[in-house]
């Protein structure tokens, strides 16, 4: 009976000694496939081939060739000899086929309509060890295995599937396809002919499949060097040479024109990098092979063009379609970086295939990573990352080189960073805190609360505006440290940045992996703004640093930024009942309270919140989110601001009263000559940290990260980008005073910028893990590499900043060096502090860009002047006097300031003195016009002049409270500096530098004296003539409206806090019994909860 099986001609090409020829022929002769013919081609100097073949396969044909022209040429010769065959089975002479191999391969070819079929190839000596199950390739022709070295065959690869390359050894090729492809390229004598044939077959639209049930053992005598390379044209060429040049030939001719140019350019760059690396490692063979391959290609340019034309004639698949069949990225570079990361430079250098793919056993350690997983595999966490070989992933996952993927590794990193931070802040624990920034010593817990309720504060020349709510926050915080208020600034200095880093981790939670969260958090901690704020003693900004990530996260949730609300809000629950906190209203209220708390300490937080909302809305204009129900960012912002204003009622009243100074609540204008340049703003640097080129690293890493993000991460990244851009633009414009008096605190703005940078970095790491695998090799790969490199390098200055143990916080301050400011005469006095807002140790009011004015009573700033109301009120007299002096309209500034009891004017150019080798403090010069004006005053005496400070004394100082003797106009100080009471002179006139004048009365011997102001701001009291020595006391007579406002505010905070379920919990207080049995909740509610 005639067989219906298609005819297959097995072609064994043997050369030289052909140590496995008999076994190969015998195994083919033993095939159970009926229509199989055997043709043995003896290539050149083969010895006694007919006899050897005849002994095991008497029916085989033998063809003797005169010279060894290579495997491909021999196969072509054999194909010419055969007619009518459906398939060719091209075999090396060192293989051994299972008896059913041919049959299974033919079946697979028909089943999959494949043009080329490759079997499962196992080790010759140990058939349980897998060698090949098909191969893959990248765009540069670098072939990668789908199995790892020494992988045991458990049947795990027994799935028939498409592969890109059918490795040489045993290859079943459809005869018509072989004819169409014009056979093997005779130019490729050895190494690479399989890649070339398969590449062209793919271009021609043929499928290449692996038939894993067909099992073949391969001895690989040529690849392992067991046999010498003797083909024509291979003299003086090593295996590596042949491999490189043939690989280059395939790439140069296998792509379309544009892809070829781009691919060759990238390959050239990679090869240059590899040559440099090889030369460093004295690997001259590799360097020579690479260089020679390019020379060879140039020499063969005509052949390349011809090949290109031929392939173009065959083309069925486009370049893009072909790319999809290949593995992404640059396999060799990936492998190098991966190994560098895992096993160090030497190993990585060795990984670069010294002997190429043809000699996998020469570099056994290289094999495991040759999985085609790519560079991104090192960052992959999901199981589906490697679509090539699951076993590779398993192998990779098991390796310790998967950086920071395990909980243990992440915990270790957190522990290390934590320990480093504690080491870096070791001196902050006990060192004396200098009087810079907002490190003025706090008053006692009780006094701090009193400032909140006070009807009068000593700011400026005195003000009766409501107490700043910041005092309330401080008093509340002081409760938790049992009234030890001195602990609070230290806690902020040490823990604000770590808390902010934790917040950054929370911000990234559920959006990226734990590793990405960790890196994002560390990046946030490494941002210069945190260090600079510590070194400048800006505890107010540090509180923003700590809390802003939490605020941003909640705003993103409420604005339904993709990925930030994974669960729906809880079902509507009445205010005060349990569960209200998880409702939309509860979440919003939480956000409002958080913003209000931080705003009380740093009002510019409200600007930052607005920027976040505007940034999200802006980003949505350009890149709309797929679906969200959020509407009306303006209304959202308005409601936030309105609610925060209610929670901070005293401050809101102050702002309303401030009039033209209202916007100054967000910050005072700094001198344009001392603000950071735009490039420094880009680096997030306002201080000593981040100003060097290192400062560029984190923004650059964020930029790369931005480029890598896709999908949901991309949507979040675009919002971060928009927010960062809006922040930078606003900051730059405000720092130049192009926004009028609106000059929000620059450092608070930079904090938002830092949050966005860290968010981008975290998202970028997430993109490395997830998004990069979708992209082919290109700029993303470079961006990924650079991003990782910059992150690593950026960590170095982060470590260097720990050296001082106090993050360069000065050990002494300018203000403290002026502790002997008290005037020689008795009585209370004020010190007028002038300088750039960034250097003064207390808040005040703006006189001009770069000039803030603030006063302290009886010496240095303290807890009573931690906050300054935006309403300058009567204190405008000081600002107007200064402006007059600067405009040249007065030479009697001392006389103008004397009624306020100002004895000393301190002009600061830096917050701390420069001490060579001990502390470096940037200079922020006060306006020169001010110094010129002060120097021209006829009643001011320059007492001290250093680079950091100039101190003028007021020659007309007469104390805060002064009196004239009867018949004289000369004012002399009365009372002591600690109290406003004491002996008076009968018939004298008392003048007090206390505003508002109407709030004070002079009680003489228990009776109020008449008061007048003589059209000035100071009250004058006429002491009646009497025979008894009068004793007077200046008392404050004011309705405690401020106290009521503070009480109302405090009550409101309490009520809202109770609304978070506490009313429900404390119900028993009012009903008189604790509810023992809780009413069963509806099923739906329970489920929702």
């Amino acid at each position: 009976m005639d067989s219906r099986a298609p005819a297959v001609v097995a072609v064994i090409v043997t050369t030289g000694s052909g140590p496995g020829l008999e076994a190969a022929a015998a195994s083919l002769a033993a095939q159970n496939y009926e229509e199989l013919s055997l043709l043995v081609v003896a290539n050149g100097d083969a010895l006694q081939v007919p006899e050897r073949v005849a002994a095991v396969a008497p029916n085989a044909f033998v063809r003797l060739l005169d010279e060894n022209r290579g495997f491909g040429a021999a196969c072509n010769e054999a194909a010419l000899m055969v007619d009518g065959s459906a398939f060719f089975l091209f075999c090396h002479d060192d293989v051994r086929l299972e008896p059913d191999a041919v049959q299974l391969m033919v079946e697979a070819a028909y089943r999959a309509n494949a043009g080329v079929v490759t079997p499962k190839v196992v080790a010759y000596e140990d058939p349980l060890v897998l060698l090949h199950v098909g191969q893959t390739s990248d765009r540069f022709g670098v072939v990668r295995e789908r199995v790892v070295l020494g992988e045991i065959d458990h049947g795990q690869q027994d799935l028939e599937r498409d592969v890109f390359v059918a490795p040489g050894g045993v290859t079943l090729v459809r005869a018509d396809l072989f004819s169409t492809l014009r056979g093997f390229d005779p130019l490729i004598t050895l190494f690479g002919e399989d890649l070339d044939l398969c590449w062209r077959a793919q271009v021609a639209g043929a499928r290449i499949v692996v038939a894993p049930l067909a099992k073949v053992a391969h001895r690989e005598t040529l690849a392992t060097g067991e046999r010498p390379v003797t083909a024509l044209g291979t003299r003086r060429a090593s295996r590596q040479d042949l491999h490189r040049r043939h690989q280059l030939l395939v790439v140069a001719s296998g792509w379309g024109r544009r892809t070829t140019v781009w691919t060759l350019m990238m390959l050239f760059v990679l090869d240059v990098f590899e040559v440099a690396l090889a030369l460093v490692g004295r690997d001259t063979d590799r360097a020579g092979a690479i260089v020679n391959s390019w020379r060879w290609l140039i020499k063969q340019r005509r052949r390349v063009r011809r090949r290109r034309r031929q392939i173009h004639g065959l083309r069925v698949l486009s370049d893009a379609e072909l790319r999809r069949l290949q593995v992404g990225g640059a396999s060799r570079l990936k492998q190098f970086l991966l190994t560098l990361l895992r096993e160090g430079y030497d190993r990585a250098r060795g990984i670069l295939p010294a002997e190429g793919l043809a000699e996998p056993l020469a570099e056994p350690l290289a094999e495991p990573a040759e999985a085609g997983a790519g560079f991104a595999a090192a960052f992959a966490e999901d199981e589906e990352f490697d679509e090539i070989a699951e076993s590779d992933l398993l192998e990779l996952r098991a390796r310790p080189s998967r950086l920071m993927t395990s909980f243990r590794a992440q915990a270790a990193v957190v522990a290390v960073v934590g320990v480093l931070w504690l080491i870096g802040s070791r001196n902050l624990v006990a060192m004396h805190l200098p009087l810079i920034g907002r490190l003025a010593p706090l008053d006692s817990w009780w006094t701090t609360w009193r400032h909140f309720f006070a009807s009068w504060s000593s700011n400026g020349v005195g003000t009766g505006t409501p107490g700043m709510p910041g005092y309330g926050v401080l008093g509340f915080a002081g409760t938790f440290v049992f009234g030890r208020m001195g602990v609070l600034p230290r806690v902020v200095l040490i823990f604000a940045v770590p808390l902010g880093a934790y917040g950054m981790g929370r911000l990234l939670k559920d959006r990226v992996s734990n590793r990405a969260r960790l890196i994002g958090a560390v990046a946030y901690a490494a941002m210069p703004v945190g260090f600079n704020m510590i070194s400048q003693g800006r505890v107010d900004v540090l509180i923003v640093v700590a809390s802003l990530p939490f605020i941003v996260r909640r705003i993103f949730e409420l604005m339904e930024v993709p990925g930030f609300r994974l669960r729906p809000y809880g079902e509507s629950v009445p205010f005060g009942h349990r569960g209200w906190r998880t409702t939309h209203a509860g979440v919003r209220m939480e956000l409002i309270m958080l913003i209000a708390t931080v705003t009380a300490l740093a009002p510019a937080t409200l600007v930052v919140v607005a920027l976040v909302i505007v940034g999200v809305a802006l980003a949505r204009v350009f890149e709309p989110d797929p679906s969200h129900d959020f509407r009306g960012p303006g209304r959202f912002l308005g409601s936030l601001v309105a609610n925060v204003a209610i929670f901070l009622l005293p401050l809101s009243i102050d702002v309303i009263l401030a009039g033209r100074r209202a916007l100054e609540v967000f910050g005072l204008a700094r001198g344009p000559w001392s603000v950071p340049s735009f490039t420094l703003l880009l680096r997030d640097a306002d201080g000593t940290f981040g100003v060097s080129w290192w400062g560029w690293l984190l923004p650059v890493a964020a930029l790369f990260a931005l480029a890598l993000c896709r999908g949901e991460r991309r949507l979040i990244a675009s919002k971060a980008l928009a927010i960062a851009a809006v922040t930078l633009v606003l900051t730059a414009l405000a720092s130049r005073h192009w926004l009028g008096s609106f000059s929000p605190d620059l450092d608070v703005m930079l904090t938002l910028y830092a949050v966005m940078l860290a968010l981008l970095i975290g998202l970028g790491i997430g993109a490395l893990e997830h998004d990069l695998r979708d992209a082919g090799f290109g700029w993303r790969q470079f961006a990924a590499g650079l991003s990782v490199v910059t992150l690593v390098i950026a960590s170095l200055p982060f470590l260097a900043s720990f050296a001082s143990g106090r993050f360069d916080l000065p050990t002494t301050s300018v203000a403290e060096s002026l502790s002997a400011l008290a005037p020689s005469s008795a009585g209370g006095f004020r010190v007028l502090w002038l300088g750039d807002p960034s250097v003064l140790p207390l808040p005040g009011w703006s006189v001009a860009p770069g000039l803030e004015a603030a006063t302290s009573m009886n010496g240095l700033p303290g807890g009573a002047t931690l906050f300054s109301p935006p309403d300058s009120g009567t204190s405008d007299v000081i600002m107007e006097a200064l402006q007059s002096a600067m405009a040249g309209r007065t030479v009697r500034l001392g006389q103008l300031l004397a009624p306020a009891g100002i004895s000393t004017i301190v002009v600061m150019n830096s917050s701390a003195p420069e001490l060579a080798g001990v502390q470096h403090v940037p200079l922020h010069h006060a306006p020169n016009v001010l110094l010129n004006a002060l120097n021209n005053q006829s009643d001011l005496a320059l007492e001290l002049h250093t680079q950091s400070v100039e101190v003028f004394s007021n020659s007309l100082f007469h104390g805060i409270v002064a009196a004239t003797s009867p018949g004289s106009t000369k004012l002399v100080p009365i009372f002591s500096s600690s109290s406003f009471s004491g002996a008076l002179t009968s018939g004298s006139t008392v003048v007090a530098g206390l505003a508002p004048a109407g709030a004070f009365a002079l009680s003489v011997n228990g009776r109020a004296t008449p008061r007048t102001t003589f059209n000035t701001w100071t009250p004058f009291y006429q002491v009646a003539s009497s025979t008894t020595p009068p004793t007077g006391t200046i008392v404050l007579h004011q309705f405690p409206l401020n106290g009521l406002i503070a009480l109302f505010t405090l009550g409101m905070w309490g009520i809202v806090w109770l609304g978070f379920g506490w009313i429900h919990r404390l119900e028993w207080l009012f009903t008189g019994r604790r509810r023992r049995v809780q009413a069963p909740r509806p099923v739906e509610e329970t489920l929702d909860a």
Binding site: L682, A722, A725, H925, V929, A941, L942
Partner: protein, 453 residues
């Protein structure tokens, strides 16, 4: 997200950041030394001050200080006179609108030399210090300076030169004095760290350290506080006051330099720099073409260019001189005869000058010069001292770049002995008013005009 949607956000952000970066970097912010208003003392000032020093009590050269109220409102002047002997005198003057009043320190106080400090309740009052038997006058200063330069002093036999320094502030001033002569630089030990107590006056006699030397340049650096200084040059009993300058300049104008027979005129220059100064003096004299005169000065040295007599410069009235230098230099005009010289420092270009005949001897010449290369229009107004009427325009002069015009010729009411006070003003600070007293030979006494405020 499709790539097509990415581009606009990237582009928008890149454009926004790029534009912001460029715009903010375009204008480099500087720390201003003066507010944009410019004027040292404005008319609406709450209080102003005038400081005049170097007033002498010596017989034949005793001086006086005159004040003029340019405003229509009356001003109260708190006058304080301090002498080199430490005596002080204080008084107050009520100066009506457009009124003037003088005070002779030697009459009210004891001492050899005096300084007068006047605090004015408001602005608009100017003061002139007149000395040397009414042959020299300089404006009073409104504020102290931290650097002061003058040059051209002679300490030759028969001459004396000293600096009168007044400390207008409550801070003790500390200063260093440097000397530049043709032989080079010196910083005498006794001139270093000089202290002037608050509101005190002090003389620094140049002759004690720089003996028998001509053309001495002086540089004063105030280490602490600020000062008002005037150089007093006496030669053969002819006294001249030199107001000096606060900074060296690369271009200076001397519009009224006599070339008359019998007169002497020199441009004296000091180089306070580390570099050699190459000075060129352009001479404009009627229709004559005069070759520019040059001078090369070693660092920290002084030199001079003879203008009269000079064989290259004909005796043909007043020459208009412009001095150029590659580095900032200090210059002064020394005029006189063969036996004596009087010094006058150049006038800094401004936009308002006041012309008042404080000496009551009138003017020999009065010119206005456009120091810029662009045409300007100069308005001339006069204050009517008899009434409190506001300024009355009396004429306008259009000047091309570098042009000098005589006030006598262009302003009909401007006489040789003007009874009114004239305000000469322009829109831009590129104008110099020059005055000389009527003398024979003409132009040997040069008078500095008042700052018009």
């Amino acid at each position: 997200m499709r790539n097509a949607l990415r581009l606009p956000l990237f582009v928008a952000v890149a454009v926004a950041l790029g534009a912001t970066g460029v715009v903010t970097s375009f204008e480099s912010a500087t720390n201003p030394s003066r507010l944009p208003s410019g004027l040292a003392v404005s008319m609406n000032a709450e209080s102003t001050a005038l400081y005049c020093t170097g007033v002498s009590a010596h017989p034949g050269r005793h001086g006086r200080v005159s004040f003029y109220n340019t405003s229509t409102a009356s001003r109260r002047l708190s006058v304080s006179v301090v002498s080199d002997t430490g005596h002080t005198f204080a008084t107050s003057i009520e100066l009506a609108g457009h009124a003037s009043q003088s005070i002779e320190p030697s009459v009210v106080d004891q001492g050899n030399n005096f300084a007068v400090a006047v605090q004015v309740s408001g602005g608009g009052v100017v003061g002139e210090e007149i000395g040397g038997s009414l042959t020299t006058e300089v404006p009073c200063a409104a504020a102290g300076v931290t650097h002061w330069y003058a040059t051209g002093f002679n300490t030759l036999v028969g001459s004396s030169a000293y600096l009168s320094v007044y400390n207008p502030t409550a801070t003790s001033a500390v200063l260093n004095v440097s000397i530049y002569t043709a032989a080079g630089f010196s910083a005498p030990q006794s001139y270093q760290g000089l202290s002037v107590p608050a509101h005190a006056q002090r003389e620094i006699d140049l002759g004690t350290e720089v003996v028998n030397t001509a053309n001495v340049g002086v540089g004063v650096t105030v280490l602490r506080g600020s000062i008002v200084a005037v150089g007093v040059q006496s030669a053969n009993n002819v006294v001249s006051l030199d107001a000096g300058v606060a900074s060296a300049t690369s271009e200076t104008w001397f519009p009224l330099v006599t070339t008359a027979q019998g007169a002497t005129a020199q441009i004296r220059v000091a180089n306070p720099n580390h570099q050699r100064a190459n000075v060129t003096l352009d001479v404009a004299l009627g229709t004559y073409h005069v070759v520019p005169q040059t001078l090369s000065l070693a660092p920290f040295s002084s030199g001079l260019i003879n203008v009269t007599p000079n064989s290259a410069i004909p005796a043909a009235g007043y020459a208009n001189l412009t001095l150029h230098s590659n580095v900032p230099v200090v210059s002064a005009l020394a005029t006189g005869t063969k036996t004596w010289i009087a010094l006058s420092s150049p006038v800094t270009p401004g936009n308002a000058f006041l012309v008042n005949d404080f000496t009551d001897v009138g003017f020999g010449a009065a010119t206005v010069t456009n120091t810029s290369s662009r045409p300007i229009t100069v308005d001339v107004s006069s204050y009517l001292s008899s009434t409190l009427q506001v300024v009355r325009d009396v004429g306008a002069i259009k000047l091309t770049g570098g042009q000098t015009e005589s006030l006598f010729l262009t302003i009909p009411s401007f006489s040789i002995t003007p009874s009114e006070t004239y305000l000469v003003s322009s829109a831009t600070p590129s104008m110099v008013v020059s005055l000389t007293l009527p003398t024979r030979p003409p132009g040997v006494y040069v008078v500095a005009p008042l700052d018009g405020r």
